[in-house]
Symmetry: C2
DNA sequence: CCATAAGTCAAACGTTTGTTTTAATCGCAC
DNA sequence: GTGCGATTAAAACAAACGTTTGACTTATGG
């Protein structure tokens, strides 16, 4: 028997469609049609459309967040053991590298990244609160580590610079076709490592500005 | 006679609701009810919901874009007249200052800024294409000026750094209550000038990174 | 082989959506 | 005042939405 192959297919297809077309613009009928399952399967397996998108976030964001938290803790511990402050680059890499490497880690991961890039500005309160609840602890730890890395900055300044960095990072998680018109001769598709380098160069300089 | 007071009220109310709750989550019934006008007035005055949001963009974004274009041209001309390259700071300020000062320039401007902060990631193809069509020339000119300011960088690098900057700027155009959970003691509400300074410090450093 | 539970299916539910229709109302030149 | 175009009002439209229902099929343990 299937052992709920249906459930997996729903997660995969919904992730893709929610990412490409948005949560509200994607009806359950489109999702179930593309997945080749019955409309009622969403209610049966998840309970509601909102529970479906929550399951999508849960499946991908939980392990990703655990890795980011672990790396941030490691940065803090290593600096503490060496009797120094963590650096802004260490903190940024602890957040950015898992995020962009994750992009190529699974077939649908790219779509999921697009989804969280959009979740930051998601109009729907339910979806946004799901995301904020899951990202909250990572954001808070990141903030603290950055405050340690830049003790001369006010917490206000660190907070805003972190927000700027989040905004910059979110521009890397988009599907290429959703970007604004690009000038001729520009590479939209970058390897994760090149993208990471570009981001880190830019953000470390921004963080270390006086 | 009203001389289309209805039309203005629709623009104002729709701008606010689209910004706060998103384009798709805001029905014309909510808009017309809050504006105290009849539902059919949208069809009569604008033709459709999409034409309404386009009128909203047109009203605010056209003068804002003209100012940004003008300032970018000025930066370029001043540098040319002095026989030097424009600086990254000049280019960034030409874009950022009109944007954030605009926030306090009119009662509903703050809502509109929230709307364009969201338009970058808007799921709806129609809305996103309206926005991209209007912002395209500004983006292109900004890109060229930045290429002149950083001639040692590849166009690829400049393009991505400009994207990062756009992402960072968009984090400043949000309504406070839509931000992720903020640590205690953080000022969410900044004056336009303070916000500009923070942004420019951060982004100039990022742009000038090697 | 049967009983039970899990899973699937087509159909329908009640809302809400953007838009259209038809009639009534208003302001103003003539 | 009369007539006319511009505007508003109330009602209805078909389509799409998320969800629920109840019958049907399938797999599994005893």
């Amino acid at each position: 028997m299937d052992k709920s192959d249906t459930k997996q297919r729903l997660l995969d297809v919904a992730e893709k469609l929610f990412a490409s077309n948005g949560y509200h613009c994607t009806s359950l009928r489109k999702v179930t049609a593309k997945a080749g399952v019955n409309l009622a399967a969403v209610s049966y397996h998840f309970g509601s459309k909102e529970a479906l998108v929550e399951a999508i976030f849960e499946r991908r964001l939980r392990p990703l967040n655990e890795e980011r938290m672990g790396r941030l803790e490691t940065v803090r511990a290593a600096a503490g053991a060496a009797g120094r402050k963590p650096t802004a680059e260490e903190a940024l890499r602890a957040f950015i590298e898992p995020t962009l490497r994750f992009r190529d880690s699974a077939p649908g991961a790219r779509y999921f990244l697009h989804l969280i890039g959009r979740a930051l500005t998601e109009p729907d309160d339910a979806v946004r609160s799901i995301f904020f609840r899951m990202i909250g602890p990572v954001f808070a730890l990141m903030f603290e580590v950055l405050c340690e890395a830049r003790p001369n900055l006010s917490r206000n300044q660190v907070f805003w610079r972190l927000n700027f960095a989040i905004g910059a990072i979110s521009r890397c998680t988009f599907l290429p076709e959703k970007l604004p018109v690009v000038p001729a001769g520009i590479e939209i598709e970058l390897s994760a490592d090149r993208q990471i380098d570009m981001l880190v160069d830019f953000l470390v300089a921004g963080m270390e500005a006086p």
